[in-house]
Point group: C2
Chain length 131, copies 2
Amino acid sequence: MRIGELAKATETRVETIRWYEKVGLLQHNSRTTGNYRTYGEPELARLSFIRRARALGFSLDQVRELLDLAETDGQDCAAVDRLAAAQLKAIDQRLEDLQALRAELSKLLRACEGGSVTNCRIIEALAPRAV
Amino acid sequence: MRIGELAKATETRVETIRWYEKVGLLQHNSRTTGNYRTYGEPELARLSFIRRARALGFSLDQVRELLDLAETDGQDCAAVDRLAAAQLKAIDQRLEDLQALRAELSKLLRACEGGSVTNCRIIEALAPRAV
DNA sequence: CTTGACCCTATAGCGGCTTCAGGGTGCATG
DNA sequence: CATGCACCCTGAAGCCGCTATAGGGTCAAG
């Protein structure tokens, strides 16, 4: 399988695949005579894994750890669990931040809707004190 | 006022202020004989505005737009409103994504907790099909 | 006269790619 | 056999919004 095919199969951009190679996440099988990368099933599986983990918000470093753990035979499920739990906690934190931010912003927007044409309340709210 | 003072007053790092200058968001008043930047009230106000807008999740480009709008006398409140509304929409989208992600991840975690020692269900779930 | 807090510039680095420049490969069509 | 086109290659730079690092200068107090 060539890189474009692998890209399609995993919904990854070709450049991203080459980039994963550069940072040591995914190797290619071999090369054709024309110097094209080729991939087999294991690479497809590995890239799928990577993409799934990325979609769950894991960093590339975390993905590396997960891959290591996945590949050691004596599974350390606890380590995986720790990683996933940490990730969940980080997501919860970001959710909280984002929700606070949303509340602020929508307060601002409500102020604007009620505002007059001559005075933009959003600008006022952002300004340090009565600009 | 020197840069350190301004930094303290706005809870901004000194380096960030210099960076805002580099990207054309905030100028300094003048320089001392010792080549130190100096700032006055208008710069303090402007930086406060920038920081507030940033804290609400606006990009630097959006902040630039907001500053332009804030400084034109004939206010275009509608334009400000559009910007803020777009920002709110973007935040809502990110919230949605993040919530979906959270659900996925916590499903994974629940699977792991119930799993046996010999088979990590998180790894299984990430793998394309029964690695 | 030295110490220390503050300031300066220029440059590189972060994550996670994306884009660009400047080519080569390989297959179908004229 | 030439041409076109989709696909592939490498290497380097660019994106955002800073942060960090190196290697200096300024200035007031002790």
